[in-house]
């Protein structure tokens, strides 16, 4: 009985998404019926073929993938390097710099929106990939995640590698980094998903349809076809499917990511 209740709640949670898929197959005429139908009377795929053209689908996916991919690589590399320095190296002023980095975490994104926009605009990078990507390449949160992971490594491994004549660089690249792979995958995945779904910054810094990322393109469809719900739902399905596929492929790493970030949460 309780298990059936679980199933009912689960269906209730998913219902809006099911409805989205259902409406995306409806013809325009079905909007006018009352009460609104839950299932399409005469299913059609015309909305999808129209939206692939309008978005333009391939270009939007490419833009989003470029943004998410570049930011993922950038954040992982810079966070790993800085986290390693914070966790495993000694230098004067380290604690002060760590405290300063923590203070940076308190700066909300909305405070940076206007000055970053003016800056990118004056560099002439508005509506280009560098303008879209450059501001997001470093994440303080990622640095602390990596620092936490590097702190867990036993000192003995480092000493043994040093005995074998490993230099600082190979110590980091060949020894320490492979040992924190769960944290790296967690950070990479979260950075990728975060950027795939980022909205405000791309909305501000891109103008032309050929630079639009997924959510901006979707918002554009929403304003252009305000009255045509099936169109909007078809576009939403089209842009959600790749995200779901990515999450499905990365399911295993998602769990490890939750474990890593969950661990850092509880500390």
């Amino acid at each position: 009985m309780r298990k059936v209740l679980l199933g009912v709640v689960a269906v209730g949670m998913v219902a809006p998404f099911l409805y989205m898929v259902s409406v995306s197959f409806m013809g325009e005429g079905e909007l006018l019926r009352w009460p609104p139908p839950l299932l399409p009377h005469a299913p059609t795929t015309g909305n999808y073929s129209a939206m692939v053209e309008v978005l333009p689908y391939a270009r939007v996916l490419l833009n989003t993938a470029i943004l998410a991919g570049c930011v993922m690589v950038g954040q992982v590399l810079t966070s790993a390097a800085a986290g390693y320095a914070f966790a495993r190296l000694r230098f004067p002023g380290r604690d002060g710099i760590i405290a300063a980095s923590l203070a940076i975490l308190t700066i909300p994104a909305i405070l940076l929106l206007v000055p970053r926009y003016l800056m990118i605009e004056s560099l002439g990078w508005a509506d280009t990939y560098p303008g879209l990507i450059s501001t997001e390449l470093v994440s303080v949160w990622g640095i602390f995640l990596m620092r936490q992971a590097f702190l867990m490594l036993p000192r003995e491994v480092e000493d043994a590698a040093r005995m074998d004549g490993a230099g600082e660089w190979s110590l980091f690249w060949r020894v320490a980094l492979p040992m924190v792979r769960p944290a790296v995958t967690a950070l990479a995945l979260l950075a990728f998903l975060d950027q795939w779904r980022s909205f405000l910054w791309p909305l501000v810094i891109t103008r032309s349809p050929r630079m639009a990322v997924a959510d901006v393109a979707l918002a554009h469809v929403h304003t252009t076809y305000a009255g045509n719900l099936p169109y909007q739902m078809a576009a939403a399905v089209l842009l959600t499917v790749p995200l779901l596929l990515i999450c499905l492929c990365a399911q295993r790493y998602m769990l490890s990511g939750v474990r890593v970030t969950g661990a850092s949460v509880r500390l």
């Binding site: 839950l38 390693y84 230098f91 004067p92 909305i110 501000v204 779901l244 474990r259």
Partner: protein, 624 residues
């Protein structure tokens, strides 16, 4: 390092720093001289366009420098009568200028008393003032249509035809070199200050074996004095560029008053104002001749009085360039302070064992990319936002009811967080209990799905439900109803954010050792008591984290409002939240200063909530 080598290194560091500061001053002075040259060239072009009449039909032949050479026309002569009215649209040639008068006006410029620059006017590519000068290259002329040009110490600006359509020539201005310093005779502070700073560094370094704190303070003082001195010089150069333009433009206006083509008995102020496009000309009072700084409607202006006829005075106003001078401090301060920094570094290197020195260098190598990026793209913009905010009218902001309404809506909206956290905890407990069963796995997938979907997709899905009245919501559209719009958004948010919160709770539940609950059970506690007395207290840090993160996220909500309501329903701003208002102010009204002020105020408010979150993180950093 030997003490002599050490002292020499200190002196070299101080010299490099001082040279760098002087180089910045030099660059700034050049910048302001060029800015003056371009400005006066633009004004001259407008003057020439205003005082030269159109060509008389038939149009004169193209300029032949040989004919012109050596012939001196009288500098002032009655201007030719205006051409007969034409009914047909003007041909490009007719929009151009009468060449003989253009020649006269151009040559008159050179003999203008009190002008601080050489001037040349080109008609096409041919020079008119100094006919033996080399002509302009056609490439330069075509380039001028887009922008001004700096060529061989002269500022070149386009001379457009009478309608401002096509480039028919150019005006070139070569400013006479003038000393820029603030002291009488144009002597600057920067050079003596640089000598002083180097001297202070060398003296302390050679006298002492290593710098004692007191002596070091002396050098830091000298470096700060250097920064101040260089800034004063740059400011003086900026001030001078404005003053020079004012004085020279005054001469142009006085000339224009006598030369503007008839029929005019008295020259109108609006005709003069048309010549000065980047300044103002207003009716004025008699005043002294040097330029002054005054406040006009609360704004600082550089003004000069111009006598344009018997007893007729006008006032020429301009934005003083020195208002922009403080931005040079961004370059001046670091270059002056580079010296003390280098000395501190040398001092540290001298005392530190080689191993630690090496590790420090490596650590900075690792930190470099992230540090540089954070400085340029986070710390810099944050300071810039604060700087922008200073220009906003804060009292007006505080009186604006829309701001207060946005704050109220933001706080109200965040009230959904306790609800979603409670539901997420219940869901996490259910999933955890039935984690081996298909029901549990199905539930967790169903909860995580909205967490994975993007906010715009979620907004669109719920818009379909609300607008269409599906699932028995009825015909009233919740989103366009003043009373229900904000609760409607909160309902979406509860649904969307439960999943992510549940995942964190699950991780917390998994970390609780089962032995604790077993022990409670042995002691006779039921499931309810076990949850209340064991699980919940152990989950307290996780709960705190989820609530704080949730509230901070809720306060910064943007996407739902942007997609669904745009802050409406319209007159009451029922869903106008802070971030959306800041976005609207910046990119709707283009009021960047106001938007920055709002953002700074909002960031300070968020800081109060960030503090506990930061405390958790700090503890975590210290314990690790």
């Amino acid at each position: 390092m030997s003490s002599r080598g050490w002292a020499a290194a200190v002196t070299v560091a101080a010299t490099i720093a001082a040279t760098l500061a002087l180089a910045v001053v030099f660059a700034a002075e050049r910048h302001y001289e060029r800015a003056f040259a371009f400005r006066i060239a633009g004004t001259t072009a407008a003057y020439v366009a205003a005082v030269t009449p159109p060509p008389q039909p038939p149009p004169p032949p193209p300029p032949a420098p040989r004919v012109v050479r050596g012939r001196r026309r009288p500098s002032i002569r009655p201007a030719p009568p205006p051409p007969p009215p034409q009914l047909a649209p003007l041909s490009p040639a007719a929009r151009s200028y009468d060449l003989p008068s253009l020649l006269t006006q151009a040559r008159a410029l050179q003999t203008l008393p009190g002008w601080s620059s050489d001037v040349e006017v080109y008609f096409g590519t041919a020079p008119l003032v100094d006919a033996t000068a080399p002509p302009l290259s056609p490439d330069d002329l075509s380039y001028l249509a887009a922008a001004g040009l700096w060529r061989a110490g002269r500022a070149l600006v386009p001379l457009k035809d009478r309608d401002g359509q096509e480039v028919v020539g150019a005006v070139a201005v070569r400013p006479h070199p003038m000393p820029h310093g603030p002291l009488p005779g144009g002597i600057g502070f920067a050079f003596p200050a640089a000598i002083l700073a180097i001297g202070a560094a060398a003296a302390t370094a050679f006298r002492e074996r290593s710098l004692r704190p007191g002596a070091r303070g002396g050098y830091v003082g000298a470096a700060l004095f250097l920064a101040l001195a260089t800034y004063l010089d740059v400011r003086a150069a900026a001030r001078q560029s404005t003053d020079r333009w004012l004085v020279d433009t005054r001469r142009l206006l006085q000339e224009a008053a006598t030369r503007l083509p008839p029929p005019r008995v008295r020259v109108a102020i609006s005709d003069l104002a048309a010549i000065v496009r980047d300044g103002e000309v207003v009716a004025g009072e008699p005043a002294d001749s040097p330029p002054r700084r005054v406040r006009v409607d609360g704004e600082r202006r550089a003004v000069v009085a111009v006598l344009i006829g018997s007893g007729r005075w006008v006032e020429l106003r301009s934005v003083p360039a020195e208002l922009e001078a403080p931005r040079w401090l961004i370059l001046l301060l670091p270059s002056a302070l580079l010296g003390p920094l280098a000395i501190l570094l040398l001092r540290w290197a001298e005392r530190t064992p080689a191993r630690l020195r090496r590790e420090t260098a490596i650590a900075w190598g690792f930190l470099g990319p992230a540090g540089l990026h954070l400085t340029v793209f986070t710390i810099g913009p944050a300071l810039y936002a604060i700087y922008l905010a200073t220009a906003a009218n804060l009292p007006a902001l505080a009186r604006d009811p829309v701001t207060w309404n946005a704050l109220r809506n933001t706080a109200l909206y965040a009230l959904y967080v306790p609800v979603s956290v409670a539901l997420a905890l219940v869901a996490a407990l259910a999933v955890f209990r039935y984690r081996q069963h298909w029901g549990g796995r199905l539930l967790s997938t169903a909860f995580v799905l909205p967490y994975v979907a993007s906010a715009v997709v979620i907004a669109l899905v719920w818009q379909a439900i609300y607008r269409w009245g599906s699932f028995g919501l009825g015909r009233t559209d919740w989103l366009s109803n003043t009373g229900s719009a904000l609760p409607a958004l909160m309902l979406i948010s509860v649904w969307a954010h439960m999943g992510g919160q549940m995942v964190v709770f699950l991780a917390g539940l998994q970390a609780i050792p089962p032995a604790y609950l077993d022990a409670a059970r042995v002691d006779g506690a039921g499931a309810w008591r076990g949850f209340w007395r064991v699980t919940l207290p152990l989950l307290r840090p996780v709960t705190w984290f989820v609530v704080l993160t949730g509230v901070l996220g809720a306060l910064q909500m943007f996407t739902l409002v942007f997609v669904l309501t745009q802050g409406g329903p319209s007159p009451s701003h029922a869903t106008g939240v802070m971030v959306h208002r800041i976005y609207q102010t910046a990119f709707g009204q283009q009021a960047f200063a106001l938007a920055s002020a709002l953002a700074v105020v909002f960031a300070v408010m968020l800081l109060i909530l960030r503090w506990p979150q930061l405390a958790i993180l700090r503890r975590q950093v210290r314990n690790a």
